[in-house]
């Protein structure tokens, strides 16, 4: 091993898109490999957990961990990498705010297991077998990770030093983060490594956004022909731009699709879903309660819309089952 700084990549509850975004550095990854030693990267390189365990505590300069934490194995790896690393970087929307997996926090663990192993139409499981954390057969013992009761963001499990937002982060932001890491020019700990400004400010359609939206109803993007030049909010589409951090270079907008909020909020906002709810709903035109309800009903799934990537990291975190609901 050379004296180059050590970097680790790991994935938890994620889709693999974050790993893909590292590969999307294309030839840029050669510069990174020239400057650092990648000591752990299960998706691309043949290292085992034992290799990490033999490293001295704090000997990895930075671990980039993507994915939410929802099993005991993911929790264990996050804790191990935290112990071995000087810096832990939450990489991507799931590690940052829970991401799409965080939407599972609308359900109890038992509901999720029953759906996956019994009720799903494509499931054939007459004996209703469920995964067991420990099973013994012919004298051999097999173990499986335990599914946690809820999905967690990385920083709800271990201390996190920096956040790289996005689903996935752009190769450009990753490249800038690695450069800053190696040059020692990272901002104060706790920072999100992307511009601290709402996406609307960077949107190519900014000039067509009216001051007063006066929304009559919300339209679904797959059912509506969209003008490729005009502000999507002005066209009645739910666009998360006002409550979402910029830095993605408005890639979805440039593809004529609304922002769905993957970069999370700016530093001034604690709860992204509450903030976009506030912004969108106060801009509808209706003035009486029935008319307001009619307009709001055109958003059929408010939690899934406003908290698409941030439910696990939100103020409420998970659906509660108060005592009155249990009775």
């Amino acid at each position: 091993m050379s004296g180059k700084p050590k970097i680790a990549f790991y994935w938890c509850a994620s889709c693999g898109g974050c790993e893909e975004s590292v590969v999307d550095l294309a030839e840029g990854i050669l510069d990174i490999v020239a400057a650092v030693d990648i000591v752990f990267w299960p998706v691309a390189m043949d290292f085992k957990r034992a290799d990490v365990e033999t490293l001295a505590d704090g000997s990895i300069l930075a671990s980039m961990i993507n994915g939410a934490i929802r099993t005991s194995e993911q929790e264990e790896m996050a804790r191990l990498l935290r112990r071995k690393s000087q810096l832990v970087i939450a990489y991507g929307a799931c590690a940052h705010l829970g991401g799409i997996p965080g939407l599972a926090n609308q359900f109890e663990r038992e509901e999720i297991l029953r759906c996956a192993y019994e009720d799903c139409p494509s499931t054939v499981n007459q004996d209703k077998v469920r995964p067991q954390p420990r099973a013994q057969e012919n004298g051999r013992v097999a173990t499986l990770p335990i599914l946690h009761r809820m999905v967690r963001t990385l920083d709800q499990v271990v201390p996190v030093d920096y956040y790289l937002p996005g689903c996935p982060p752009t190769p450009k932001l990753l490249g800038q983060a690695v450069q800053a890491l190696l040059a020692g020019t990272l901002p104060p700990k706790g920072s999100t490594l992307a511009p601290d400004i709402a996406l609307c400010e960077q949107c190519p359609r900014k000039d067509s956004k009216p001051t007063d939206l006066q929304l009559e109803e919300f339209k679904r993007p797959h059912l509506t022909p969209l003008d490729p030049q005009r502000c999507l909010l002005a066209q009645g589409i739910v666009c998360m731009g006002p409550a979402t951090r910029g830095g993605c270079e408005a890639q979805c907008i440039q593809g004529n699709m609304p922002c769905s909020g993957c970069f999370g909020p700016t530093s001034r906002v604690r709860d992204q879903g509450a903030k976009i709810l506030s912004s969108l709903c106060s801009n509808i035109a209706a003035k009486t309660e029935p008319d307001i309800d009619r307009a709001l009903a055109t958003i059929p799934d408010p939690v899934g819309t406003f908290y698409r990537y941030s439910l696990a990291g939100s103020l409420l975190r998970k659906r509660v089952w108060p005592d009155s609901a249990k009775r």
Binding site: E53, E76, R79, P145, D271, L277, A286, P322
Partner: protein
Amino acid sequence: MGGERVNTQAKGSPDTAPADAWEPRIVAFFCNWCTYTAADLAGVSRMRHAPNVRIIRVMCSGRVDPQFILDAFAKGADGVLIGGCHIGDCHYVEGNYKTIRRVQMLRRVLHDMGIEDDRFRLEWISASEGEKVKLVINDMVTRIRALGPLGLPQHVRDWDAELESLEHAVTADAKEVGTHVG
């Protein structure tokens, strides 16, 4: 707001107090021009209402960011009450229209997140309606008393109990990890 589930007047720490020591705690956001003035009127008129409400004066019910409401629940409130001027009477003309539009959507979010409808309430109370302040607060306290504590901070502690075993295992000795048993 320390001591979840327990009235600040109750004796004992939150963890040792008996369950029947619980008193509903309601956070109320009252607009400066109408409902706060009405609460003042109720006070000077020596009306008695349940002491379970902590009133926060805001300039307009439209100033109540939905984050304030979620944060109140997350920090241990059993209910949140918003009081504003009647529709048409807003000191800022349009503020309470924004309030009701946000509130109608927030109700659906809270419902979907398992928080019962009676824990969140919006009332239009003008400056002269001191009696209505009393009636609304007493009614809300009765309903929330019937529901029992929401206790979100306690829920979070219960959820996070599953993290304790690995925290100790991995922090104590890296060689012990690998059992996957949570």
